[in-house]
Symmetry: C2
């Protein structure tokens, strides 16, 4: 009898192995993950904009400027190795060498990530033991274990994979993610790892990742509100054996770009849905903006407003909080007297504000719409043709109950 | 027997009467306040920067440009009269005329404020009855009632008064405030009313108020994160009969400026301390900045960080969250490698981060320091000589308990 094993997330693409173990940075839970590309992979990354950058982030940024192919990415949770000065840098370098020796590869082929407490030196004894213990666990079925090992306060592991067409062949892309930036007060860092089997240059991969991260992870959190360790990597093993994609003119570029965008989008939505205690996924769709920057700014302002998020939890059609948050967004063009606001979900759509004024609406229908798990807040600025989506979740904790019924 | 009655808050200064009643905008609680200056007062105001401005805010801004002396300010809670279009404007104008007729004054001598739900038309029937009912209640001892009537979700009325010296005489200043901007997710609007008996020009008063609001209310909340109705007024009755203060060169200017700053500071701190469920008052003191804008930006970034506020509630010396919030502030000059961070309270002071790196510290002492009701977070940027304070409170709700112990 042949047992069919479905490879998950980060190990879905050919040429990727992974492992996830308990090394000892945390008391009991898995806390060390390893991605391994036996024949190498082209890697691109995007990193936190915070002016305080953790030691591994600084290391990776330099490594990715100097090289384009790598064989391993080691991740630990439980200690961020941030604000650790020279010792932190030395610890990263030692870790890189330890892992390279263990895997019999070159130190220049290793990247590292860390997440956890800031300002504490890495327990290198634990790291040494962990590196020795994790290497033998590597497997092309290790994606699920790796996705558990990168978690901190995440409630569920988050992984995605799917196939798409490149050069007449079936390409695969998969990924895993942890944490979130702004959405949950308890989570500092977001880390993301995406792998694919296409053959592509680092320049092309980096351009796609930048564009995708800006349209997804940065719309699920808030620009600038980044931790010291935020990192997203894409690794391409080339096992598909397609003709190398080096520029936007090359065949397959558009398909890979769409796949990277799609997986980033799916991973970002998983982050939002894992908002601690979140009961609703909320998409703020701003249209009719004169500039894209205005659409994004208003979307983020509304999506991060505690008042809007508590109203969503309370299933209260309090559009006044929406227009208030829109009004304090940093925008170039804004006219409070022409804005329309509506709420929609699988249960219907209801107009609440027309030309900046409240309209009489059916409270029963509004309540029904807001009872859904996924809600859209639709804002039409009527000033132009630009539009943008921003994702958030409701605030669903007990303390919020106090605020949720403020309108009534 | 003579009963000594202490005039409170907004009626402490000579020439001011006030009242606070239940008009019916809310079910049971007081919801209408009136300030009355029988012989007139010079009034200055500062208002929300939100692009969506409530009808009364629009009215007051215009009125204060056209006139400098007023006799009455009417306030209702329960309905913001925001996003109400032409009807909202008409309702303000009708309210002004109603009150003028009731008090036998000119409509140009009336100002109005509203706070409450956005996007609903004012119940003018309630307004008419309220105006009739409140006028006979006016009294020079009505400050306490007025301070109750402007409350929405405030847990306590907030009023302050004190005397100071001008021109060799004892001047009085008093005030009341409600709500807060950013600090409490449940509160939309902040309203403030300050009265004094000095004789001063509108221009001078306005300059003082602008400066004071920027250094106090704007440091307790966040610039831009303003409701549709935020307003702070200062009214000066001139009953002290000092020589008119018209410019910064005039005798008494510095004293009044200091008094306005002091009362705004005290009222802003009352706002912060009334943070729903707040157990701690936190002052973030940023020093060593190269520019004042950098000091303010970092102070606000740290003071509004949910991660920092939950750590304060958890009495956890998690300075990593402080440096992270500092690192994503919008600053011109910032060097992560030279920052010092310390916590202090009446129980002592402890250095946690030196030159951007964690230092080994006494966890017991840190805990003892953070057990105090009032905590200072001290951040020295070591880049210059500018400094700024920002006030906030902790996040103390049940849901926060989950986050408060993340570090351990």
């Amino acid at each position: 009898m042949i047992k069919k094993v479905q490879k998950s997330g980060v190990t879905a693409a050919a040429g990727v192995q992974a492992a996830g173990i308990h090394a000892g940075f945390k008391k009991r839970k898995k806390d060390m993950a390893l991605l391994y590309f036996p024949d190498g992979a082209t890697v691109a990354g995007v990193f936190t904009k915070n002016k305080v950058k953790a030691a591994p982030v600084q290391y990776d940024q330099q490594a990715l400027q100097q090289h384009d192919r790598f064989k391993a990415i080691l991740v630990n949770s439980g200690n961020a190795n941030a604000c650790t000065g020279k010792q932190g840098k030395a610890d990263v370098e030692e870790t890189v060498k330890l892992l390279a020796a263990e895997l019999n590869i070159q130190p220049e082929e290793v990247l590292v990530s860390s997440t956890g407490v800031i300002g504490m030196f890495m327990n290198m004894e634990t790291m040494r033991k962990g590196v020795k213990a994790i290497a033998p666990e590597l497997s092309e079925f290790g994606g699920a274990a790796a996705s558990k090992a990168i978690m901190t306060t995440d409630t569920v592991p988050k992984e995605v994979s799917f196939t798409f067409e490149v050069d007449g062949k079936t390409a695969t892309i998969g990924g895993m993610v942890k944490g979130s930036g702004m959405i949950h007060p308890n989570l500092g860092t977001m880390l993301g790892y995406i792998t694919t089997d296409v053959a592509i240059s680092q320049t092309a991969l980096h351009a796609m990742l930048l564009k995708a991260a800006d349209a997804t992870f940065n719309h699920a959190t808030v620009d600038g509100d980044t931790s010291t360790n935020d990192s997203v990597f894409v690794a391409a093993t080339g096992k598909l054996a397609n003709p190398l994609i080096a520029s936007a003119e090359d065949a397959g570029y558009a398909e890979v770009e769409a796949a990277v965008l799609s997986i980033c989008s799916q991973l970002a939505q998983l982050l939002v849905k894992d908002g601690e205690g979140a009961t609703k996924f909320v998409e703020v769709i701003v249209s009719g903006a004169k500039t894209m920057a205005d659409a994004v700014s208003i979307g983020k302002s509304v999506a991060t407003s505690s008042l809007v998020k508590t109203a969503m939890f309370g299933e209260d059609a309090n559009w006044g909080r929406v227009i208030t948050a829109a009004g304090y967004a940093d925008t170039e063009y804004f006219d409070a007297d022409v804005i329309d606001i509506a709420f929609s979900s699988k249960n219907g759509e209801i107009q609440l504000c027309e030309a900046g004024m409240g309209v009489v609406f059916d409270e029963e229908l509004a309540k029904k719409i807001l009872e859904a798990d996924e809600i859209n807040i639709l804002i039409d600025l009527h000033l132009g043709t630009e539009a943008a989506s921003t994702w958030t979740c409701d605030f669903s904790y007990d303390y919020v109950k106090i605020n949720a019924d403020y309108r009534s």
